[in-house]
Symmetry: C2
Subunit: 296 residues, 2 copies
């Protein structure tokens, strides 16, 4: 039976993922559930955690968590750090825990006052990426529901900007009139077409979106091509808006899935070669860095 | 009891509206139901219509209809006219009707091949506006779920472009993370701020949208101000994209409600004075023009 030196936790809006860790940062075991923050009342957090980690715990065990679990609607609010701020975590929040064998600490998110912006969870991936790439300077792109572009200099988060691109894709593909014209597949030629259109004329986005519907009414249209074009239009508009972040910069994309690959491909069309790192690897490295800080 | 010379019908996706008309174009009576096209199987159209118009009908009565009732999923498909095309209707589609007292005709929509675009219903409002303003040249804006900008010259629809702005507002205000930050009221100062932001940097739309959420997390934010800003951002981005349509043009906005007023106010900030006409008035004038054409 696995005995954890400490437990790493990524607790987001929809999911809870936990890892049994050795003191040196090796993963000994892993588990997950769908008990994300959004479905839990304040007193449901401890049982949801114990359900997964109980077999790994004997004596008092440190638990280091990141993500929406630290939001105002979470277990306990971990007050935001404010940019510019060091990538390494300074202060961990501590929820009330009944079980004496669990010593839970939550990593705070980061906020920016002007323009107003927030992140929770990404700061841990950023810290992990920097732990894996000491001294790295440049811009980190974290694709997702709310994609973030983060300017890193001398070990500090200098500024960042969030784009609702992923959420827009979800709304448009599931709830809008476009849902009739799309598929689960994505054609790269359609993606590149949408990308070009949006990069050259980002202001016409809402018209290009309707044209996806109109093309399927006026003639034949391959749904995978339309899906690619929708994705290309949205990511292209984002790249046009985020240009001050990526132009002439050293770029890293955190994430190894299909969405991150679209960002890397899109940046490549603009002659930007981005390095990629797996999201889970960054998360675990960031949680490990916070654990080391906690031990000191 | 009202006896109609003919019946005017505006049959959209969600609603059915009918008017008992005199031969000269006077409204004698009106009725409506929520039996829009999207909820009806092909054999349900005639009963839905009769339920409203039966009291007005004695001998064979012409019924002139516009809107989604003429789409492929409607009562009978009224094949699109193709731009450039005259504003006045050329050919009406005729569904199969069992009742010998109803002679139903449906006005076709208009399509554009490149860039692909379609309208159904708006062509009737455009024809009505032109019947009320003979010889008018310029650009007509029809705000709605799918706002249309239509270039009119010498009695013809020359080209048009549809923006999904209204649908985006609905998706974002009802289904996105922004729904927590909004209200039913709309603050004009917020609207003007969003308008300015989007007109000056339309590419950053997806980032500005997220900032609405972030501002409510980082500090105090008036929900009516956020709602105004959301509307201003989306309409501002549309105006930036539609600039070739409105810059230096004679502009009419069809619609007298709150949404149309936002467009008129937004255009005024760009030194464009738009004339406004009530939507129903344009619809009835267009249906009357089609009735006269049908009688000839």
């Amino acid at each position: 039976m696995t005995q954890a030196d400490w437990i790493a936790v990524d607790w987001g809006t929809s999911n809870l993922r936990v890892w049994a860790m050795s003191d040196s940062g090796t993963v000994l075991d892993a588990a997950q559930s769908n008990k994300g923050m959004s479905g839990l009342t304040p007193d449901a957090f401890e049982p949801a955690l114990k359900e997964l980690v109980d077999p790994w715990v004997s004596a008092k065990t440190p638990v280091i968590a990141c993500g929406m679990v630290g939001s105002r609607q979470g277990w306990v609010e971990a007050a935001y750090d404010i940019v510019p701020c060091p990538v390494t975590v300074q202060q961990l929040a501590r929820p009330a825990v009944k079980d004496p064998n669990l010593d839970v600490r939550i990593i705070p998110g980061i906020r920016q006052m002007d323009p107003a912006d927030v992140m929770r969870g990404e700061e841990t991936q950023i810290a992990g990426f920097l732990a894996l790439n000491t001294g790295w300077d440049g811009v980190i792109c974290l694709p997702g529901t709310h994609t973030k572009w983060v300017h890193i200099s001398a070990g500090e988060v200098v500024s960042f900007q969030t784009f609702m691109t992923g959420e827009l894709f979800g709304l448009l593909s599931k709830h809008s009139v476009l849902r009739h014209s799309l598929s689960d597949d994505l054609n790269p030629a359609g993606f590149n077409r949408g990308l070009d259109e949006a990069l050259s004329r980002p202001a016409t986005l809402a018209a290009r979106l309707f044209s996806l519907r109109a093309e399927s009414l006026v003639g034949e249209q391959d749904p995978a091509d339309a899906t690619g074009r929708l994705s290309g239009l949205l990511i292209g508009a984002e790249l046009a808006g985020a240009k001050p972040y990526w132009l002439g910069q050293n770029i890293a994309v955190i994430g190894a899935g299909a969405l991150s690959k679209l960002y890397v491909d899109a940046l490549a069309t603009q002659s930007v070669q981005a390095m990629q790192v797996q999201g889970d690897r960054a998360t675990l490295a960031g949680l490990t860095a916070a654990y080391r800080h906690f031990k000191e």
